[in-house]
């Protein structure tokens, strides 16, 4: 059992708040991700957990045992660095064995464990190479092997895939997640890549300006963003600003936009009269020739821009004073300037109180 709790953790550099977390619990065997733009404090938080940065205040507990003040080498955590931080003067074997030799384990045990770790990351046979003789992807796997060979209580990942090319990155995401599930080591991952976070994590904490804005599973974060920042940062959203004018018993509410459009939305915990933003994903807006459909949440807009992406078409549609982004299957393509009908799926319209 390895449960990590962060309590009232604070760190600032001058006026810049790098980390300000009231309470966060990371569960046993969980793959937990801190996601945020650069400068959001996610890396600072990870480095505080690793022990490289001393927090100004607060405490970290691993299974109720406080660890702030414990030097990094005594924390039983292993980290995979963004630059991999492989030691250039050591072979792959020596790099992976480094931590075990410091523990003065018997030679045979070290050999066995290093070989096992290298097999797990599919690098058997490259033991005698030097890091500079390996490709980026192989170096990344050495860094992973060097961490898992320690059999740590916690695995820490600091943007470990950001130096790989896009195709490789996608493949490694799955590999990392599979490996983590196989080993069952509680893992904390830091990234600014939302797609990576959605694929790899059990739960995600979205950070901005040192604070955690929302914690949830990838679906919760994507489908039910609790703030405009998240709706905008994760994926693409179109926004319509307005006021809640009605709330019914079935869990729907009606939002009247600043320019008078009435849109039915799922209501969440919002009250009548609140000023709110409506956020909707491009894939949940349907487009069709005008007058083909009518009813609730059907509006008429005009195509402003078209981007044909092969597997889909991206439209920017003007609706009153709002610009709505739409993703549609490319079975038919509307042209710029064409009037079209729009339908907002009420179950996928998210309202965020302002």
């Amino acid at each position: 059992m390895v449960k990590i709790v962060l309590k009232n953790l604070k760190k600032s550099y001058g006026n810049v708040v790098a980390c300000d977390i009231d309470y966060l619990e990371i569960k046993d065997k969980e793959f937990f991700t801190f996601l945020g733009p650069s400068g959001s404090g996610k890396t600072t938080t990870l480095r505080i957990i690793a022990g490289f940065i001393e927090p100004d205040a607060g405490e970290i507990y691993i299974d109720d045992k406080p660890i702030v003040g414990v030097p990094p080498e005594k924390r039983n955590m292993a980290m995979v660095f963004q630059s991999y931080a492989l030691f250039p003067h050591m072979t792959v074997f020596d790099n992976v064995a480094f931590g075990l030799t410091l523990k003065k384990l018997p030679k045979e045990e070290i050999k066995k464990r290093v070989e096992n770790a290298l097999e797990l990351v599919r690098l058997s046979g490259l033991e005698d190479r030097y890091p500079r003789q390996l490709s980026g992807g192989q170096q990344q796997r050495v860094a992973v092997a060097r961490a898992i060979v320690m059999e740590p209580e916690v695995l820490l990942f600091d943007e470990p895939l950001s130096n790989l090319d896009a195709k490789l990155r996608e493949a490694v995401r799955f590999e990392l997640r599979e490996l983590q599930k196989k080993l069952g080591i509680t893992s904390i991952y830091v990234t600014h890549d939302q797609a990576e976070a959605l694929v790899i994590s059990d739960r995600i904490a979205v950070m901005n300006e040192g604070k955690i804005i929302q914690v949830g599973s990838p679906t919760e974060i994507y489908e039910k963003p609790e703030s405009k920042f998240i709706a905008d940062f994760i994926g693409v959203s179109s926004f319509i600003e307005g006021k809640i004018i009605d709330v019914d018993e079935e869990g729907y509410a009606t939002l009247e936009s600043e320019d008078g459009l009435k849109i039915k939305v799922t209501c969440g915990r919002i009250e009548k009269g609140t000023k709110a933003s409506l956020a909707i994903r491009p894939e949940y807006v349907e487009v069709f020739p005008t007058k083909e459909r009518s009813g609730i949440n059907v509006f008429e807009g005009e195509i402003k821009r078209v981007a044909y992406l092969g597997d889909s078409v991206d439209y920017r549609v003007s609706l009153g004073k709002w610009e709505i982004r739409v993703r549609d299957v490319p079975t038919r393509v509307f042209r710029v300037g064409e009037k079209i009908g729009l339908w907002f799926n009420p179950n996928k319209c998210v309202v965020i109180a302002r």
């Binding site: 080498e73 955590m77 931080a85």
Partner: protein, 274 residues
């Protein structure tokens, strides 16, 4: 059948250029070796000696002043290397790992000794050294050699420190290394090649330094480079002896070149040239 590329006009041109360059670099060496072993010349021409032998070397080794030069040259050089390393390691650490205002300027100031002609430096330090009683002393020559050797050493060592990824330390500590273990097992092994490269430069600088050695050291300290000049120039006019002394100077270069091949990475040399 296709002709071999070497036989094409371009290949022949390349070979021609390479041959000229090789001749240009190696011919003086050949002449020096030739002269140092030429015991007797034909009276009618200059280019082939009548008798070849090691008598010049034997004669030189019997001369006390040459023996002394030999000892002086190869004791001064290691001391110069050690002292420049002593200065350059902490300075290189700061230049290679920290950033501060004026760093660029300071780095360039350290290069000035390489730009100023030795004779100009010599004239200015001569009066200072005389005032301080360093003229005609061992330590005076060592200090004079360090002026030129330090920039090379410093560049090499800074380049080595610059090559260190701060994440190495974190990675090592994360894997259980203490601060001391980080220094011994991670930092030192990655700095040594830089220091070694600097040492090679500083060593060859010291044994080759001529102008300052002559100005500061003469007549008490005469390294081999000065000795060659004595034999060739104003004193005895004996080119054969001069050639033999030059061989003494050249011999240590062979292991140095081999060591460079093995230890010096291109980036350290580039660091010097930068």
């Amino acid at each position: 059948m296709k002709k071999h590329w070497i036989l094409s006009p371009k290949g022949l041109g390349n070979i021609f250029i390479a041959a000229i360059l090789l001749f240009y670099v190696l011919f003086p060496m050949v002449v020096v070796v030739f002269w140092s072993v030429a015991e007797k010349w034909f009276p009618e021409h200059w280019w082939a000696p009548e008798k070849i032998g090691l008598s010049w070397f034997k004669a030189l080794f019997k001369l006390v002043d040459v023996q002394l030069s030999f000892i002086q040259t190869f004791t001064i050089a290691p001391i110069v290397v050690a002292l420049t390393a002593l200065i350059s390691i902490p300075a290189g650490y700061v230049f290679g790992t920290k950033s501060f205002p004026g760093k660029r300027l300071l780095e360039n100031i350290f290069l000035i000794p390489l730009v100023v002609p030795a004779i100009a430096t010599g004239i200015s330090i001569l009066s200072v050294y005389t005032a301080w009683g360093l003229r005609n002393t061992y330590w005076g020559v060592i200090l004079a050699h360090m002026i030129g050797a330090t920039p090379y050493m410093l560049r090499c060592v800074s380049a080595a420190f610059e090559g260190i990824d701060p994440a190495w330390e974190e990675a090592a500590r994360n894997l259980g290394a203490t601060r001391w273990q980080v220094i011994w097992k991670i930092l030192v092994p990655n700095i040594i090649p830089g220091i070694l490269a600097g040492a090679i430069f500083a060593f060859s600088w010291s044994i080759n330094e001529f102008v300052l050695t002559l100005l500061v050291g003469f007549p008490t300290v005469t390294t081999l480079a000065v000795k060659v000049y004595q034999y060739i120039g104003g004193y005895y006019i004996t080119p054969n002896a001069a050639a033999a002394v030059s061989i003494f100077l050249t011999l240590p270069s062979i292991p140095i070149v081999l060591a460079m091949e093995k230890y010096v990475k291109a980036e350290y040399v580039a660091g010097v040239a930068r």
